[in-house]
């Protein structure tokens, strides 16, 4: 991650495409906070890649001035993995919705943590399928009425933070898009963390989720740093992560491993011992070719 010498402002990360989200959508806050975090960290826009899946939330790369990839539903993490391994000098941010990351893409989420590529994964968790106009999601609370659960959700929600912790994620945080200043600070820490970092963001869908509204969150949100949570304490992190639903809703850094696993680019002997792949020559020297063929004879 290189830093620019000249001052960068959040608006320098604004693309020429205006967001098409509903007025009041939580994803505006997610976008603003990310623009602020990148400006604060002085990462030149051309060295950032934002990779997304499909959903309202996944439209974000189009509104962010940086390179981007708006791919398939559920697949931002493996795509981001390829980008980061091909060019480790880029700041690679994977993003998407709760359906995208915790539903169809769940296995990539767990394996992404296991693989520990240096990615920041931001999930805009609105506990609903927004783009498809309001069906139940893997994080919808039990009992919630949606278009696809007309008599209320009979299933329990998944707990992404506990899953991430159990899978070995070294940086686990949750933010709220109603508090972009706090959220930007979480992003900055996540981007600076070397390895896979999760920031789950409660990002209300004002159109299709009439339960988990801004007010609902404001009544319940507690900042972990204010209640003296020790983010290096794994057990405490698990206990805080369990709190979901009608009780209090903690936000902040749940866990930051004091002895984080080295990211894949430090473990892979090729990546660890030279420039980014894209900065190496493409070809194969005569000597190399001959040696391989000798071995195959």
């Amino acid at each position: 991650m290189a830093t620019a010498t000249v001052e960068l402002k959040p608006k320098d990360y604004k693309s020429n495409v205006p967001p098409d989200w509903c007025p009041g959508c939580g994803d505006f806050g997610v976008l603003n906070a990310l623009q602020r975090a990148c400006a604060d960290l002085k990462i030149p826009p051309h060295e950032v890649v934002v990779v997304s899946g499909i959903g309202c939330s996944s439209n974000l790369p189009g509104f962010f001035k940086a390179y981007g990839l708006h791919g398939l539903h559920g697949r931002p993490i493996p795509v981001a993995t390829g980008i980061k391994l091909a060019n480790k000098d880029l700041t690679v941010i994977a993003t998407g919705g709760d359906g995208d990351g915790y539903g169809i893409g769940l296995s990539h989420f767990i394996h992404g943590i296991r693989r520990n590529v240096d990615l920041t994964y931001i999930v805009m968790n609105n506990q609903i399928y927004g783009l498809t106009t309001g069906q139940v999601s893997p994080t919808s609370l039990a009992g919630m009425q949606t278009k696809s659960t007309p008599s209320g959700n009979v299933e329990e929600p998944i707990n992404p933070l506990m899953l991430a912790l159990a899978a070995g994620c070294d940086f686990v945080a949750r933010g709220f898009s109603g508090d972009t200043k706090h959220l930007a600070e979480l992003y900055k820490q996540a981007i600076q963390h070397r390895g896979f970092a999760l920031v789950d963001v409660f990002s209300p869908c004002v159109t299709f989720n009439k339960y988990n509204t801004y007010d609902w969150f404001r009544q319940r949100i507690v900042k972990l740093e204010e209640k003296g949570h020790d983010p290096t304490d794994f057990v405490a992190a698990m206990q805080e992560a369990r709190k979901m639903g009608d009780g209090e809703v903690p936000i902040g850094v749940f866990y930051r491993n004091p002895n984080p696993r080295p990211p894949l680019d430090e473990r892979d002997p090729v990546l660890a011992s030279g420039p980014a792949l894209v900065k190496r020559p493409m070809g194969i020297t005569n000597a190399e070719g001959r040696k391989l063929i000798e071995e195959l004879m």
């Binding site: 981007g68 390829g82 060019n87 990539h108 394996h111 090729v270």
Partner: protein, 590 residues
Amino acid sequence: MATEMAEAATRVVDLVVGVAGDTGVTPGIMTTGEMLTLAVSRVGYDIYTFQTNPAEIKGGQAWYQLRLSDQQLLSQGNDVNVLIAFDEEGFEKNEKVLADGGVLIYDASAYEPHPSREFRLVGVPMTKIAREQVRFPLAKNMVGLGAAAALVDLDLQVIRRMIEQKYAAKSMEIVEKNFACVELGANYVRSELGLSPIVRLKPIPRPERLVLSGNEAISLGALAAGCRFFAGYPITPASTILEFMMRELPRFGGVALQMEDEIAALASCIGASVAGKKAMTATSGPGLSLMVELLGLAVMAEVPVVVADIQRAGPSTGMPTKTEQSDLNLALYGGHGDAPRVVVAPSSVGDAFYTAIRAFNLAEYTQGPCILLSDANLANRKATVDRPDSQGVKIVNRLLAPESDERLPKPFPRYQITMSGISPYAVPGMKGTYFVATGLEHDEYGAPNYTPEVHTAMSHKRFRKLESAYANRNGDEWVSLYGARGEADLGVISWGSNEGVIREAVAQANAEGYKVAFAHVHVLNPLPEKELKAFISRVRRVMVAEINFAGQFAHLLAGRFKIDPIPLTKVSGTPFTPQEVLDGIRDAAA
């Protein structure tokens, strides 16, 4: 045609050896075949193998077939001349392919065969020799190998070097014991049975050549083409490409990964390619089925990427170790929407190296996915090939946009409409520009756009890129022509690994007085229309040969060229034999 007939006429040695038995009882069955293959190739003979591994992981009947000749080989041959059968079931299962008067080498301490036809029986007490004389019962297969070597008068020192290569790292004692078994087997045949060789494999002096499998050739070609990112997921018969790349890519400054599934494998390749590195994944039918949504993304977002599909018999899990060419439709059309992609198919082990390079070149040129369709037959079988020439081949890289010095990046027309359909590529990290590679329909800048004008223009653009690739093939041979040059009674068209066997059958048919031409298609999409039109117009009837039930290529050609081809298909999980193709030609020409 002239050269093919001359070739057949000058063939002095043309021998097919089969090795059969239960790998649970005789674990070294495949090793026996492989060592014989390498040794024969070392002394200068052309080899062509065919093998079927048992479906069980350990145990079950295995089959290894080696054809060898002093001249170039085009197929695995028909009947077997020498059968090494380690157990009775191995003999009984394969007796039908042993030619009349052929040689049966069997383990006389395991069984006495009861053949239904006349064979030359060579009983060697393999188990007894290995156990009692060498005290190494595991190496009874080596006694069989020695017996076979004596019958073809193969220099035992060549075999010794193979054994050293394989076992010297383990221990010299193992080398000595294995070789003792080989010598005892050979001596038994010569002295105890007093048999003289049926052929003499005198060394042929020639430059050393490689013995490669199709999967190795694809992997080497990918390396030569500049592939430096590989991601895969294990699946028979493609796993050996994953293993090769995991082993070799780091040495060439590349990264190989085993992902959690085929979706993640192709997705990460797409990511690596977007970031500017040439990338490939390898899979088989079930994996390709999972990848089709991503193929569409690579088409829409215009990302060069190579997908090697090593076909096996389907549908569903099908027959994982058996060969078939039934993924053609999936490769050509798999996925939703109008998603044009390049499809190429290697025709032999030697050609697989160059086809892999062609696949990368076409992917880079068209900035889209290219599927390389190989099959289980080509994947595992070994053939002698001339040293691949990576110097003489042309490497194509995607058209890049220039970098600019703007402090803040400007939107970049990544999907600029051009005459060729091909737009300059900006790599993330490049200063002065930015864009979003996207699977949504988009305008020239990558911004989502669903207007009728844009979708129409962009659809044209995506298809036009393939037309441009065909127009700019610059002497690259997309169709190979064999057999009768002018007008012919029958024109055979085929694709993939059938090229050699059909060449052989066509040469034979022409020698018998039929007038047969043969066109072998290397690029299946975009189809080389001009070449095929010219070919079809000079033959009276077209026959399309392929290893699948429905005649997938025949249907494609029927629709495209308004013809009614005779299908020559086979779905036994095994490749064509020259005899089967010859019979097909005779029927069609009659």
